[in-house]
Symmetry: C2
């Protein structure tokens, strides 16, 4: 079972936590009631050998990516950053200076996005072959009421993405997956400009195909994507743009007028929300050159 | 450099984060301002091969310990549990059923202490020799205003501990370090009964000697411990009681009347808070059989 499906299965028992839990596990962040306020929280891991190559990646980019991935979840909820906590497991021969550089990079990234690093933990592995692992928790306050989730997509909505998709992983392990900018300000601008017209949102970490299927599953709808309209860098074909992931752009569904850009980041219509019979039919359909392909066949049927 | 000292060094640059950060890194939890409310947050890691032996420890006790360690930080601040997030890194051959059992144990422990599991992450390691690692973030609300920190110890205070110390790690790897009860209710009762007389508190994870030195360092005082008064199980000598750690009992300093027990957990006076010249002198002194030993010589001079 893949990581996402395993986690979904595990948290299926937590759908109704009641009490102070307003949005349970399954969305980009959980929403909690705290006194008279609201708090969003999420956690994310970055593992050497899985999410980056420690041999070729400068430590400042490791720390930056560890924090930026978690911050991207804040963007997905159109929320205001509050604070970051970082736990790091280090091989025993890692060295104090390198540990400090790693934390410096996490701290400066967190500060840059107004999400200060307020707590942390360091554990030293028992064996030098064990991998560097960064676990980042982020806390935020919802900007919209109710906050923007994966569950609000409505039949008739247009599906949009920010930026371009695909090619984030270079052949040398470098690339935009290490240097992306979490779309926090862009998401806040979308929430403000679209108001009640902004229905559902997610950040694209697993690839547009799979992440759109998460919106479709939680919203009880289908999503059709026009492959030719998906914005992508030169030399990237649509399969890579929809399947590779680690873009950390936003995918959202909205009704009404949507600007062609937020800040200096392009916003592109790539599809539409369509009906889906409950519990049946593909979550995501891709229209490409006159053909219609089901997400299942492309490997994206998940979360249903 | 040990893990604690490295983390202290790294966070020395974060002493004044301003804005919404009311207690910066360095205490058991960070305190944040959130709207009109207050929020405490902390993160803790549990690593196979370091904190438990995966070969001999049942998974339900692994999950229980992972969450209980973090909950013990909530007790240390005399706070009310709010929510838990759990991130787990698994070897690729770990198996879905065992992953579910691990999360079930974390969830039931979190539920038991009214701190529901609201979010999580799973990462699969790239290599089967890489260790199981659980990272647990806990969120809480302070019960006292201001909350009980490590920094409030005052000359003349008496130093107390709950329960007994030492012998938590059995020779077979089992023992109380896997089955302890975080002292959340006991801490809340102490805060209520002692009121403004409860000055400083910490949970004993590194051993009473070292953890008392953390209170002394942040409070700008010295602490004298009477070795013979430290409560310990049959067969455990005072050096083990002060040095072994993983007791997860509370150590606190207080003025005024203190009960001999909270709930059914004994409270024992073990020492006193004494003056210390700023930046000099031992943080912890141990009186034992007419001798006075400095924490430095016993390996506990830390955090100064």
């Amino acid at each position: 079972m893949r990581e996402f499906e395993l986690l979904q299965h595990i948290f299926a028992a937590s759908r109704d936590l009641g009490g102070s839990v307003l949005i349970p596990p399954g969305d980009d962040m959980a929403l909690l009631r705290l006194g008279g306020g609201r708090l969003l929280a999420a956690v994310d891991q970055l593992v050497a050998g899985r999410h980056f190559d420690l041999g070729t990646t400068p430590l400042d980019l490791v720390g930056r990516k560890a924090v930026s991935r978690a911050l991207s979840d804040i963007a997905a909820m159109a929320a205001r950053p509050l604070a970051t906590l970082a736990a790091v497991a280090l091989p025993p021969d890692f060295g104090d200076e390198r540990a400090k550089r790693l934390f410096d990079a996490m701290r400066s990234t967190a500060d840059h996005y107004r999400c200060p690093l307020v707590g942390g933990d360091i554990a030293i592995h028992g064996d030098r072959t064990h991998p560097l692992l960064c676990t980042v928790t982020v806390l935020a306050e919802p900007a919209a009421t109710p906050p923007i989730t994966r569950a609000g997509a409505t039949v008739g909505d247009v599906v949009y993405v920010t930026g371009t998709l695909g090619g984030s992983f270079g052949s040398d392990g470098r690339g935009r997956h290490l240097t992306f900018e979490p779309r926090i300000d862009e998401a806040l601008e979308l929430a403000e400009r679209l108001g009640a017209g902004l229905h559902a949102m997610i950040d694209i970490s697993d690839g547009l195909g799979r992440d759109a299927s998460h919106i479709a599953a939680l919203s009880g709808v289908g999503i059709e994507i026009d492959a030719d309209r998906v914005p992508r860098p030169e030399g990237i074909d649509w399969r890579r743009a929809l399947g590779e992931g680690e873009d950390y752009e936003l995918c959202f569904t909205a009704a009404g007028r949507v600007p062609g850009a937020v800040g200096d980041v392009a916003v592109t219509a790539v599809g539409r929300v369509v009906p889906r019979e409950a519990g049946s039919g593909p979550l995501v359909l891709v229209r490409e050159g006159g053909r219609t392909l089901a997400g299942d066949d492309l490997g994206w049927q998940h979360g249903s």
